[in-house]
Amino acid sequence: MKLLSSFKKELILASRSFYFYIELGSALVILAVLLLAVPENFSTTTTQYLYLGFPQAEKEMYVDTVLESESGVESEMVEIEAGGKTYDAQLITTDGEEIYIVDSEEAVEKLAYEKQAPGAVVKLDNSNQLSFKYYLQGYESTRLKNLISIMFNKDIGTLEEQIKNQEIRSLTADYEPINDRENTIPPIISFSSGLMGMFILASYIFLDKKEGVIKAYAVTASSVWQYLMSKIFVVSLTSVISGLIITMPVMGFRINYGLVLLLLLTTGFFSSSLGLLISSFYNDLMKAFGVIYLLVILFMVPAIAYFIPGWDPFWIKLIPTYPLMQGFKEIILPKGDIIYPLIASAGFLAAGVILFAVTNIRFKKTLSV
């Protein structure tokens, strides 16, 4: 009962503070950016520069083959500038590629260097076989360079035929991907709603410390844990509301909101408890700033692994935002794994309870720091 009235009081105070509206306002801004400025699918285009050292007829044959290889491939004559010189080029635009066919080997070298994109020269050698020369920047991995160096050791036609015939099987045949806009939701929710709780709750406590609220609890009938818990409830509620503001208009009713609520609440609880624990060691936000900021930055690192799924070292899985982002992703995937977000929620709840218990002991002992 005391907890409920504490919560009500905190909620009234929060509704009068500017912070509460900043939270809701920023959720609305994120939503507007997602809906208006983020395309459903990011179009990333790679550029290459190519010189074909063949007779004109064979060059045209190559271009025709590329143009006919898929629909939507276009060709036009353009001029490109590099290092103060202008080069004529035939630009072939495919779905994700721009290939500039230029008139000389020197142009390929200059353009590859100036534009920092790969270049290739294809010629016929003395034995009338194709020879390849690649211009790379130097930072490409050894493994990639190895592949490039032998890629065309075989006849291109035979290679393409063999690749086409290479059998490929899938363990989950019914996988349905999400678009790029939907794919940005898990990291946004993780930082915006989930982990800002740590920062905000620590700020809340420092404010109350400054005003002597925590010490005043020593002479009330209410216990410190109820006071702390009511703060957590308010921050978690704010994060749930802002999370739903972002998620609902983008995802509609296609996802399981029970799981969304569960994950938002448990991560809110975990991060708020972490914020509480940090605030129990310091007098004010300025002193705790370093720890909080380092943690926020550390928590951002799994976003790299999220967007580069081939890079997933073990240590990154130990950072709490990793299961948080992956859990959200499973929730928004059309046939996502339900077990993963449940296990992640249980983990966050358990970790939050432990952190809360430790913090409560610290606050009870000191009533301030």
Binding site: S17, F18, Y19, E23, S26, V29, L36, A37, V38, P39, F42, T44, T45, A112, Y113, E114, Q116, F132, K133, Y135, L136, G138, Y139, S141, T142, R143, K145, N146, I148, S149, I150, N153, K154, L159, Q162, Q166, E167, I168, R169, S170, L171, T172, I200, S203, L207, L285, M286, K287, G290, Y293, I297, V301, I304, A305, I308, P309, G310, W311, D312, P313
Partner: protein
């Protein structure tokens, strides 16, 4: 006037060093720069991850290892379990006389094509020793991802510097000394510059240190200093806005989150949004700062281009300042 500005700067520096916050704000970016150095080589080495059965074909495993990351498992089930993990790993499993590629189903197309090509090359006995292609390298050693991370770090530094200014002003507000300035010989502009100096100093020192730590020794430091200077003007305005608009630390902390929006949005806009859609980000000085830094870190920036970008940043800052000047004056 200069003396008064320096006095305010020296006083802030002294107070900040007592609170350790200046030290934090200077050290955190350096720690992050070291972190970028630590993770970027392994990210850059990412091609494709393959899972194979141990002892099934040692020669094949050795062959693939020259082109991809290879993990070995005791049996087929082990390979399947690994494929079903959250990252992108493909299996190459034997059947009859050949091998097939096993996927989870959610991998991007280019990863599957890479694995198919590798298996075809192996089955065709194309060896690395027989390589016929010549590779010419330009000697650039910094991968694009590292450049992006450093660029983001530079923007973050300017934001941290803005926060430092905000906290300095907040401290004055809480001590109720802001209005007291009006009865001293210090002018309002001297106060603003003096208060901003600490943040600007921190931003310039940290940014240059981070550029050097991350290995960008050969970028044009003059150009970098120019962009850093313009972003610190941005920090100054941000800091003042935060500091004057917030009544307590709680509100200042909340407004930090608001600042992450234009920063994150501008970076995402520049990196992911193509063509004419980028117009939607032109209003953000962070967008121009990121673009200018990108040119500098890529060593492709020309002075006229950079001056244009810096001019745009300063113009946007000028407009924001002109709009908010009456408010700042009132709050002071």
């Amino acid at each position: 006037m200069l003396k008064r500005i320096l006095n305010i700067f020296a006083r802030d520096l002294k107070i900040n060093s007592r609170e350790f916050i200046t030290l934090y704000i200077m050290i955190i970016p350096l720690v992050m720069a070291v972190g970028i150095n630590f993770i970027s080589p392994s990210i850059n080495d990412t091609t494709v991850n393959l899972a194979l059965i141990k002892d099934e074909n040692l020669e094949q495993a050795g062959y693939f290892d020259d082109f991809a990351h290879v993990e070995l498992f005791d049996d087929r089930q082990g390979v399947e379990n690994r494929i079903m993990a959250r990252d992108d790993v493909l299996g190459v499993l034997p059947e009859g006389d050949g091998y097939y590629i096993l996927t989870q189903g959610n991998e991007p197309g280019f990863i599957k094509e890479y694995a198919k090509l590798l298996n075809v090359l192996y089955e065709s006995d194309v060896q690395l020793e027989d390589a016929r292609s010549e590779i010419v390298e330009f000697g650039r050693t910094v991968p694009p991802l590292k450049k992006r991370l450093v660029n983001m770090l530079l923007l973050l530094i300017s934001m941290l510097a803005g926060m430092l200014i905000a906290m300095n002003i907040l401290e004055e507000k809480m001590d109720k000394t802001v209005s007291a300035i009006n009865v001293t010989p210090t002018s309002r502009s001297a106060f603003i510059l003096g208060k901003g100096f600490t943040g600007m100093f921190v931003a310039v020192v940290s940014s240059i240190a981070c550029i050097l730590i991350t290995g960008f020794y050969d970028v044009n430091l003059g150009q970098a200093a120019l962009v850093i200077f313009s972003t610190t003007i941005l920090s100054l305005i941000i800091g003042f806005l935060q500091g004057l608009n917030s009544n307590d630390i709680m509100e200042a902390a909340g407004s930090v989150k608001l600042l992450f929006l234009p920063l994150g949005g501008s970076v995402a806009g520049y990196e992911f949004v193509t063509g004419n859609w980028q117009i939607f980000f032109w209003w953000s000085p962070f967008y121009w700062a990121y673009r200018a830094n990108d040119n500098i870190l890529s060593k492709s920036g020309t002075w006229p281009q950079l001056l244009l970008f810096v001019g745009i940043i300063l113009a946007i800052c000028g407009v924001v300042y002109a709009l908010l000047a009456p408010r700042i004056a009132r709050k002071l």
